[in-house]
Subunit: 406 residues, 4 copies
């Protein structure tokens, strides 16, 4: 039932080793460098060192699937084979970047690989694959329910050989980061088109383009997710050459659809890793602390919480693995029901598990002394990322009702 490929199993072993040797021992160091950095969104020397090591170890761009293996130094990993690797990376929230496997760059690289032309790939994909620059994907807008992509309002207007952009965006992950150099921007180029799915285009806007204002970093539950961060942006007559258009006018929705499936599932994989680590920490905690004359681990309620958490992590993991398998077999579109099921089940389940693990740590569990509070924020945030759960429940419910009554 879980026969990961030989390749995946080798990577799993290597990655576990790398985490133990290079990541866990550097967690405090990472936070210290961040605290001492010139700004919250500076690039950190430690990250560069670790990236070099990861690349040398061949743990690089593992998210690239077989169909796009031409862009990788390996043969490509199926979603199923990649899942346990992403889970491991999820154990330390900042570690995916070490392996060039962090959101939103993985999704953006996919866009370039699938929809970029040769020049766009040369200019942007190449340094992204090399981990030299970072990127952002500008979709969500503050004034509309962006979970319905047809609501997007940012205007992209042709003006001679240029396009001119006007509008607002927010929750633009990575935009604050010093390393970020390029934005993929979704907007409306043909708002009057009779087909609601042909009104959008996606276009490249280099950071620093005149009129592109980075208004502020946003926080969620108090976290700024530095140094990657989430930003609010304003586009005031931002002008870029027509060559910056991706794929063609009116094909923005098509690109958006092609990008979303794996992203949601990658979040789920990483969350499972975060929960698994929280549970392991809780087990350590309850065996090293005594209250009212008994080791915490001997309290029946502690054991119940541990047992339930173990079972829930296992169920979340299995759902994600089945979803991956289906995606590998029939593509994201045919796996829409399972992707939605994962999206609505895994983050809330993981949030609950981590909440329990924090509670077993006493007040300290809520602080920066452990990885749990930040992971809790990640899970909570994923209940909104790529659209609130409710939107996916609506779509999934509709699909299931139809499937079971026709």
């Amino acid at each position: 039932m879980f026969e990961f490929s030989e390749q995946s199993r080798q990577y799993q072993a290597q990655l576990a080793d790398f985490m133990t040797t290079h990541i866990y021992p550097n967690e405090e160091n990472y936070h210290q460098q961040l605290a001492a950095a010139p700004s919250r969104f500076s690039a950190l020397p430690l990250m560069d060192e670790l990236k070099a090591k990861a690349r040398e170890a061949g743990l690089w761009n593992l998210f690239i699937p077989p169909s796009l293996a031409e862009f990788a130094d390996h043969d490509g990993l199926s979603n199923f084979d990649y899942a346990p690797l992403a889970e491991q990376m999820g154990r330390v929230l900042w570690s995916p970047e070490v392996f060039n496997c962090n959101a939103p760059d993985t999704g953006n690289m996919e866009v370039f690989m699938k929809y970029g032309n040769a020049e766009q790939q040369e200019q942007w994909l190449k340094p992204l694959l090399a981990g030299e620059i970072r990127s952002s994907y500008a979709m969500t807008e503050p004034q509309v329910a962006s979970s319905d992509a047809t609501n997007i309002e940012l205007r992209i207007e042709r003006d001679g050989d240029d396009y001119v952009l006007n509008g607002r965006k927010w929750f633009i992950t990575g935009a604050m980061y010093e390393r970020c150099k390029i934005f993929i921007v979704m907007g409306k180029s043909d708002p009057d088109n009779a087909s609601r799915h042909l009104q959008q285009s996606q276009i490249l806007v280099p950071k620093g383009t005149e009129g592109l204002e980075i208004v502020r970093p946003l926080t969620t539950l108090g976290y700024d997710d530095a140094p990657i961060g989430h930003a609010e942006l304003r586009f005031n007559n931002v002008r870029v050459p027509k060559e910056n258009l991706l794929l063609g006018e009116g094909r923005g929705f098509e690109i958006a659809q092609g990008r979303l499936g794996p992203g949601r599932i990658h979040h789920c994989m990483r969350l499972i890793g975060a929960a698994q680590r929280s549970l392991e920490l809780a087990c350590e905690r309850v065996t090293s602390r005594t209250t009212f004359g008994r080791e915490l681990s001997t309290h029946q309620s502690v054991r119940e919480d541990i047992a339930k958490s173990f079972a829930e992590i296992e169920m979340a993991r299995l759902l994600v693995l089945k979803t991956c398998k289906r995606m590998d077999e029939v593509g994201a579109k045919g796996a829409m029901d399972l992707i939605a099921a994962s999206k609505i089940s895994v983050p809330i389940m993981i949030q609950t598990v981590i909440d329990r693990c924090m509670q077993m740590h006493g007040a300290g569990g809520l602080t920066e002394d452990y990885c749990m509070a930040e992971a809790f924020n990640y899970a909570r945030w994923c209940r909104q990322a790529d659209g609130p759960d409710q939107v996916h429940q609506m779509a999934l419910g509709k699909q299931i009702i139809k499937a079971y009554t026709s």
Copy 2:
């Protein structure tokens, strides 16, 4: 990930066909025959007819694993391959008996196959495998917490060439049933043995033996689960020949251990089928009912309930399948953690799913007009069967804590 064997897939198709042709159309008939029967625990003619058809169709004793295939008309089905079959049977609560796959007979037949001697097998196993008689397993006692098997108090004392039994039992499934002919009884033959796991023996007591009093049928949430039922029993100097002992004196605990794993998982499989059917009924319901001017299916909260239920059923199913796979590979003992995880997660999850589906049916959902209320009772009851969930959470929590801290 889910490659059921060719054999299993064939049985799945055949069984689905049999359910459609013979079971669903007879659900009302079954209840009518039961209502008209001489007693609540009479054998029903319909059952005999359907059993004959199932046996003819080769859908018989499918629970028998490859290691015991000598007792089957087929090559044996692994737990993994049997799971989807048990799930289908779970869609109609009384249907497993049609296929000679109902609790507690499956577990009892396993005991006879693994621990019975040739004579015991000839006398009891043969007619059980043929579906001619039914059996009961008498473990739980009202006065002690029987989830800890070492608490069992019924006395089995040697007296010449006989054993004499004294004590009480309850929740003895099948004991009320007209067809039930034999009890496997767990008791203490050597209560002073220094080893708490060598004090017990298991012994055969034919129904009708003098001194064996069937006190009353028990209900759970108002259900008597007729005609199979659950009984309270009293053993007043019940005397049986020494040949009725199973395996040997002091080996009762060993037999109990060997019996339990698959039983718990079979319950989970069937519950998943019951929930799946409830969800399908709910989908039909919400597309055929209008309130306040809208078809129920278009209410956002209805879609959310359907979506959550779909995801939860899927997660429960995956956990059970993984548990089966592990049991097939390393045996029930090595899968103890996953068996416990299933036992504590699946019934409560299924109870919640069915509760939602009942609610979508309005008041009618609670009645005998649908299969859901009875299935709800089954799920609720499974949170106590083979020990309350809390006992399994305790054991699992302890095991996980140990595993993650050593």
Copy 3:
């Protein structure tokens, strides 16, 4: 904050005494008489004896409010003052009848008191107040969502000096009961009236009227709630004289509105009593049972369950008391938000509390040996009674949104 009137406090003491002296000691007796009765819906001698005692003790018709005190032997009790009395009666599900305070007769008596004319009161209200006969209220229909009363389809047609009724009803509480003599039936007398709230009338139909067919008793979660029960009815050209009309043609909706508020709250009060008793039983249980070497009461998870249950019962009770207070001050209409809040919160909370208490009792907790399983069914059933919770959540949500944004 909880200053019950002197009168209420006296009744509370008397009632507690009566429960201890006459009700608890007769619980087993009651079930034995029911089991031995000619039918499931026979009147029981014990009930008559206890009623006589209750009436003699002055614990009679305590549900009657001050505004209708002319019909009582006392000065009338406000909803607030009645609440702790109804709670006590809820501790034994069949006991409210002993005090002539059981559903649906209380609501029906209110209808007669408020809307009946002198003859109707003489003929039906008088024996109802004396506890000599019982009554039913026929509102819900199987084929429509009856939570929206305007959906009701049963036809009431004028024919000379008679009305003729045709249609179906179900979940008609009390209809099966031997003592039940009169039905208050809601139907449409003017289905084409432009106002949807003037189409309905309510009319009296004596049990035994030709054409009134009692199709069958219904069960919920396996319970038939005998001897009172819930029935499915058919009206086939049921003819009654025009004098049987209540209040006037087209005023059925008005009567229904006037009847509903207190009914829902009475259910909540009784449920709180049922939960309180379950909790007390659980406390006794956990101090009298030992597992794995520890008294159950010393397990941390047991204490957590007890603590949570205590707090939840208290919160449910306070919400109901506040609702009562508001109803007493401004009437049911002005307390609509709190009535809905109670209706959607109390039954589900009580169901959860009782579920925990059952679980602490082991498998026995699910049986008829304790009062909990039946109380669980009562709570579950109340999530549908007077309309599914979802309908009340819809109305309450709408009201709150409006209140907070205007």
Copy 4:
């Protein structure tokens, strides 16, 4: 049932007015001043302005109960009368300080009022009551489960006319704040005393005393709660004169007991205000946003969430009010069960309500643009404050079991 005193009702009206006129319009200003301040823990000019206004308006030290009215400019407010005032202050997390009613100063002032001698009151209580300085209460230690106060390890040793302190503390609220001038420190002066409740003393340590090291601010869920904050402290041979002792050697536990009850309840009151405001914001949100062609407020699931939240807030509020009433009548000790019930029920309930309200706001709900995320953190944090919920569940469960079985 809710007859607040005339005085309380006047304050409620005045306070509502003050919030509308001075607090809500300054929320953005407050955050801007904090962002622009020299440090995260600087005193803000806005706070001083608002305090002056509040004091002038007579909305000052409203937490002082009648028994300590000699210290107030008013007659003292009972817990019951203060509850709706604290609820209103809870609507803006930083606003209690404006009214000199913020934690931990209220509790500290109580300590000074009840246990301080004339000199201690002159030096510290007077400026605290005037809002000129702030204070901290140093109880929790990182290395022991401090919910059991007898675990406290910080040493207080007599040395000539001084006491010398050595040990660690953390989660010391207010310690970071520029205005904070004095610490009340709990430690062990007589660790070998046979009575575990006579080993502790409490002593005053001015901020800036040599050897008192403020190690770092702590965050919970990413929040530093600036400018008040929570700190980790080290006491390295901190020397204070013997006159700084409170009440007497060995009376530290007694003081701790006297301080705790109201504190827990004040947190609950404020949380209810935070939830109430979140619900009001959610109602505004859902009437001003459209998705998939429908105003959010018309979605059934939105209405259900609003309805449930309304009911839950109401239940939490009622439980707190009843607790207050009991405390007013019989003191905190006699209300121990209800205080514990509030402590274990209100924060988790409020956390759930706020979580729903955040979700209805989309991704923005998690940011600093609304008050909800910070309030969510406050609720989560209160599940640990004054000991994890589990400790209170243990104590309450034990008490209830005893009460119901004796």
